[in-house]
C-alpha cells in the first residue's frame, strides 16, 4: 500500500516537473531573465570590490551563494506565478494529483533551474573573480545538497505566498531568513574548497544534507494544507 502511494507520488512529481520544464522551454524566463540577473549581480559585486582584488577573491564563496539566493527568489516567484494565473491553483486542487507529488515536482523544477544558474555563476566567479577551487568534488556535492535544500524550502514557501496579493514582496522576507543556514554552510564549504582544506568543508555538507532532508520532509507533509490555504 505504501509502495503504491510512493509510486503515485513520484509519478505525479514527474508529471509536474515535466510540465514545468516544458513551460520554461516555451517561455525561456530562466534563460532570458533570471540568468542575466544572476550574472549582473556578480558583475555589480565585482564593481563594488574591484579596487581590492584580494578581497574579491576571498569573498568569492559568500558572493557566489548570495547571487544564488537572489536568483532563487526570482526562480521561485516564476515557478508559482504559472500556478496562480487564471484559476490554475483551483485546477490543481480539483485534480487527482498527490499534493506531496506536486511539492516534489515543483521542488525538482526549481532545483533544476537553480543547478543551471549555479553552474553559470560558478563559471562567472572563476572568470570574473579569478577564483579557482581545489576541491572539485566538495564543490559539486555542496552545490547538489544546497540546491536540494533551497528547492525544497522554495517550493514550500512559494505555495505559502502563492495566494497572497503581496506575494512578490513577502516571499523574500519569508525566505531569506529561512535559507540563511544554506548561505552559511555553502559559503564555509566553498571556502574550504577554495583554500584546499576540503576536510573542513565536508562538515558543512552535513548541515546542508540535514537542511535538505528536513525541508523535503516538511514539504511532503505540509504542502497539502498550504495548497488549501493559498
Amino acid at each position: 500500500m505504501a509502495d503504491l502511494a510512493a509510486e503515485s507520488m513520484l509519478r505525479d512529481a514527474a508529471m509536474v516537473v515535466g510540465k514545468d520544464l516544458r513551460l520554461e522551454w516555451r517561455s525561456r524566463v530562466t534563460l532570458s531573465q533570471i540568468l542575466p540577473f544572476a550574472l549582473l549581480v556578480l558583475i555589480l559585486f565585482a564593481f563594488a570590490l574591484d579596487p581590492d582584488r584580494r578581497i574579491l577573491e576571498e569573498a568569492t564563496p559568500g558572493l557566489f551563494w548570495l547571487a544564488v539566493l537572489f536568483s532563487m527568489l526570482l526562480a521561485i516567484q516564476r515557478a508559482y506565478a504559472v500556478e496562480t494565473t487564471d484559476g490554475v491553483i483551483d485546477a490543481l486542487r480539483l485534480s487527482d494529483l498527490d499534493p506531496a507529488g506536486i511539492f516534489l515536482g515543483k521542488a525538482a523544477g526549481i532545483g533544476l533551474h537553480l543547478l543551471v544558474l549555479e553552474v553559470v555563476l560558478f563559471i562567472g566567479v572563476t572568470v570574473l573573480y579569478g577564483a579557482t577551487p581545489h576541491g572539485g568534488l566538495l564543490v559539486v556535492v555542496t552545490m547538489l545538497l544546497a540546491t536540494a535544500g533551497l528547492a525544497a524550502a522554495g517550493s514550500l514557501y512559494g505555495v505559502l505566498a502563492a495566494g497572497l496579493r503581496v506575494r512578490d514582496t513577502l516571499l523574500p522576507i519569508l525566505m531569506l531568513p529561512v535559507v540563511a543556514p544554506v548561505l552559511i554552510a555553502g559559503t564555509e564549504a566553498f571556502s574550504a574548497a577554495y583554500a584546499n582544506s576540503s576536510g573542513d568543508g565536508w562538515k558543512w555538507c552535513g548541515l546542508l544534507a540535514a537542511f535538505s532532508v528536513l525541508y523535503l520532509a516538511i514539504g511532503i507533509f505540509a504542502f497539502e494544507p498550504l495548497l488549501e490555504e493559498s
Partner: protein, 224 residues
C-alpha cells in the same frame, strides 16, 4: 435514489461575510439544474462549495455522498468545474493542456484526444499556445478537459459566456451528453432563454449582495 447534491441550511463565509446563508437545495441524479439570480447572489459560491473549493461552515452539505462540512476534499476528483477562470497554462498548447489535466484527473490519453475532437480542437488549434487563443477558444479548451475527465457532477458557471453560436450549441449538447452518460449538471447562467431550454428545472439564488452582507437562499422555480 439519493440526491447528488443535498444542502440544508448551508452557510459559506467569505471572510466575515456570509456569501451563502441557509441554502436548501436538492439535485437528483441525471438532472440539469439551472441556478439563476442577480450578480452577487451567491451562484458562483454555491458552485464552488459543491466542488469542495470553499468551506461550508454550518448546516448540512452532501455532494455525491461526501459530507462537505466534515471534509470537502474527497468530492473534488468526482466533480468537474468550469468557472470564470479556465485553469489553463498559457505557455502550453491546447493539446498539452488537455492531456496534462486529463492525466492529472486519471483519465486516459485516448479520452483527452476524443475530447479534443468533440470540441473541435483537434485541427490547427491543437498546437497553438493557449496564450494566443481567443476567450471563446480558451473556454472550449477548458470544456475539453471537463469532457475528458468524465465527472459525475458538472458544475458550470456561465458556460455559454464568450462562445459563438456554434460553441453555445455545443455546450448544450455536452450537457445533454453528460446526463445521458449518467452524470448530473448544475449550472449558473444569465442567458435565461437558452439556459431554461436546456435545464430540467431552475433554482433562484436570491438575497445576496456584492459585498455579501446578505445571504443567498435557493428557491425552486419551475422551468417554462
Amino acid at each position: 435514489m439519493d440526491a447528488v447534491v443535498r444542502f440544508r441550511a448551508a452557510v459559506c463565509l467569505l471572510g466575515r461575510f456570509p456569501a451563502l446563508a441557509g441554502v436548501d437545495l436538492d439535485v437528483a441524479p441525471g438532472e440539469i439544474v439551472l441556478l439563476q439570480g442577480p450578480n452577487g447572489a451567491g451562484k458562483t459560491t454555491l458552485l464552488r462549495a459543491c466542488a469542495g473549493l470553499v468551506p461550508v461552515t454550518e448546516g448540512q452539505a452532501d455532494v455525491l455522498g461526501v459530507d462537505l462540512v466534515a471534509d470537502r476534499r474527497p468530492v473534488r476528483p468526482m466533480v468537474g468545474l468550469l468557472g470564470h477562470a479556465t485553469g489553463l497554462y498559457d505557455d502550453l498548447t491546447v493539446v498539452e493542456n488537455v492531456r496534462f489535466w486529463s492525466k492529472a484527473g486519471r483519465s486516459k490519453r485516448a479520452d483527452a484526444d476524443a475530447a479534443l475532437a468533440r470540441l473541435g480542437l483537434d485541427g490547427r488549434l491543437a498546437d497553438v499556445p493557449v496564450a494566443r487563443l481567443s476567450a471563446g477558444q480558451r473556454r472550449r479548451t477548458a470544456l475539453a478537459i471537463l469532457v475528458a475527465r468524465r465527472p459525475r457532477l458538472w458544475l458550470l458557471d456561465e458556460p455559454h459566456a464568450a462562445l459563438d453560436q456554434d460553441g453555445r450549441d455545443l455546450v448544450d449538447g455536452l450537457m445533454a451528453d453528460a446526463v445521458a452518460a449518467g452524470a448530473t449538471v448544475l449550472f449558473a447562467s444569465h442567458e435565461l432563454d437558452r439556459a431554461e431550454a436546456v435545464a430540467h428545472r431552475s433554482v433562484t439564488v436570491a438575497g445576496g449582495t456584492v459585498n455579501g452582507l446578505l445571504a443567498g437562499s435557493a428557491q425552486e422555480v419551475p422551468v417554462g
